[in-house]
């Protein structure tokens, strides 16, 4: 693991000493490999290493620590800092001044939006709120069925398209009739889409423009690779994202993509999907994520 690899780099130095330009280069190489292996974006990795170099150069190494340990500490702390939003409330859902509060879910195909929508509904219900689910995916076969099944499982009403309604129509009707359906928060599940699909990006941009959801979350698969930043930037350009959801974190993917996305866009990570079950949603902990990325 990275700790061992960095310790090896410094094995010829002992206790008291300074971290120098020479010995730092080797360490940075090891950190670079670890980050790339963890799917951190190439550009994000470069910027991160530059930050580390500045922080590490000239650092005194106390007698009680090895230079390797000091380096690990610098890397770990920097990663945690970049994963922690400046605004302490950034990692929480926001509620609208007047109900219904809207949560719009967006993302590439298969990332876990529908499952996350239901998990969020279950979470909010447990929190004493009155959630409703809106099935706005009219593309994928049996998508509406999937959300309806999950809604039934957790006891949350599901708005399904009627009479040839399109995605925007069912969302609009759900907003208009939310309170009479005893819902004060609505989660809009949308079709997976490519960020380069003009028509589909226009569709979701229109939903955002017309209904102005308080929460707009990009759902990101933990195993996503180098393509993550490009995708997230495109979504963020069309939809003002307010949060990220990391899914399938119960796998063994290191999750570097979500770090790249949050550090490039500034959008905070708000939830983590940790199973296929309806209770499989957790809050996001920067320190846990940092350890995971570093392996």
């Amino acid at each position: 693991n990275l700790t061992d690899r960095i310790q090896k780099v410094f094995k010829n130095l002992r206790g008291q000493g300074k971290i120098t330009e020479a010995n730092i280069e080797e360490t940075l190489k090891e950190v670079r490999l670890a980050l790339l292996e963890a799917d951190v974006n190439v550009e994000t990795t470069k910027l991160f290493l530059e930050k580390i170099k500045v922080k590490a150069l000239g650092k005194e190494v106390a007698l009680s620590l090895s230079p390797g340990q000091v380096m690990i500490k610098i890397v770990h702390e920097e990663l945690i800092q970049l994963l922690t939003p400046k605004d302490k409330t950034a990692n929480k859902l926001k509620f609208a001044p007047a109900p219904p509060t809207l949560i719009l879910l967006a993302g590439l195909q298969g990332t876990g939006k529908t499952t996350t929508a239901a998990k969020l509904a279950a979470w909010l219900k447990k929190d004493g709120r009155k959630p409703g689910l809106v099935a706005a995916d009219l593309v994928r076969p049996a998508a509406i069925e999937q959300l309806a099944t999950l809604g039934k499982e957790i006891g949350v009403p599901v708005f399904r398209p009627e009479n040839g309604e399109k995605a925007l129509d069912v969302c609009t009707r759900a907003v208009k009739t939310a309170l009479q359906n005893d819902c004060n928060i609505l989660i809009l599940d949308t079709a997976g889409r490519l960020q380069i699909d003009e028509e589909m990006m226009n569709e979701i941009a229109e939903i955002q423009k017309k209904l102005k959801p308080t929460n707009i979350m990009l759902v990101v698969d933990a195993m996503t690779g180098q393509n993550a930043v490009q995708v997230a930037q495109a979504f963020h350009a069309r939809l003002p994202l307010t949060g990220l959801v990391l899914t399938k974190a119960d796998g063994d993917a290191r999750g570097g993509a979500i770090f790249s996305i949050t550090s490039v866009t500034g959008v905070p990570i708000q939830f983590v999907g940790v199973s296929e079950k309806m209770d499989g949603l957790e809050a996001f902990y920067p320190d846990r994520m940092a350890s995971r990325i570093l392996g």
Binding site: E37, G110, D221
Partner: protein, 275 residues
Amino acid sequence: LKGGPAISRQALEALEETLVRADMGAPTARAIIHEVEESAKKDTTHKVHLANHLRKAILGKLESVQTPFALPKPGIILLVGVNGAGKTTTTGKLAARFAGEGRKVLLAAGDTFRAAAEEQLTEWAQRAKVEFIRGAHGAAPSAVVFDALQSGLAHGADCLLVDTAGRLHNRSNLMEELRKIVRVAEKAAPGVHQEKWLVLDANTGQNAMNQAREFNKEVGLTGLVLTKIDGTAKGGIVVALAGELGLPVRFLGVGEQMDDLVPFDPGLFVEALVP
């Protein structure tokens, strides 16, 4: 991307970065660039084009594992992989393709777990106009697969496509369930040729290596399907997988519609990777 009498270190590093950015992974990228450097040094032509050497190196890796593919009659294909990769959609596309080739296709709903899994595959069977067998939702997948294969073969199906539930490779109980499905498929169709394809989302990063290793270890993979290559992800990981596990890519998923499946062409793939 042109070299010279001395191959520019900068040019090579830039190329290596392109490969990493395409999800090839740092180790594979390093190995390929090393090969490019060697072959470029031997290049005595007036102007060395690094890009040509690069394409040649990558193509070499892919072509060395690209055995020809033909599904025997009868033949079974199991689609396996992690959640959301595109297995069900790929199963539907394959059904349409084989039906179009005049095969007698059967779709088996091996995912009995996920909400509306059977409904999704039913829709695909209707689109492809092929026979479809499912069990009760929540039934043991191996039982459904056993019945489907036995019944399918008895009724003359010569192309049996088995969709399975998404599963993370680090979930030992789910991998055990998959091993059981494969064993049961062998029992239901003794001696019948079985393909086991890992369906891989082109957006997947280095975790694809773990996925392929684990699924291969559990059930013995015979091929890969790379989906969602119509997006901006490059799927370079298949080059690393060719080197490490010798797995050929059989098809590419290039969209969400029934016809959006193309046989893998290493040459075209390399052109897209290094334009």
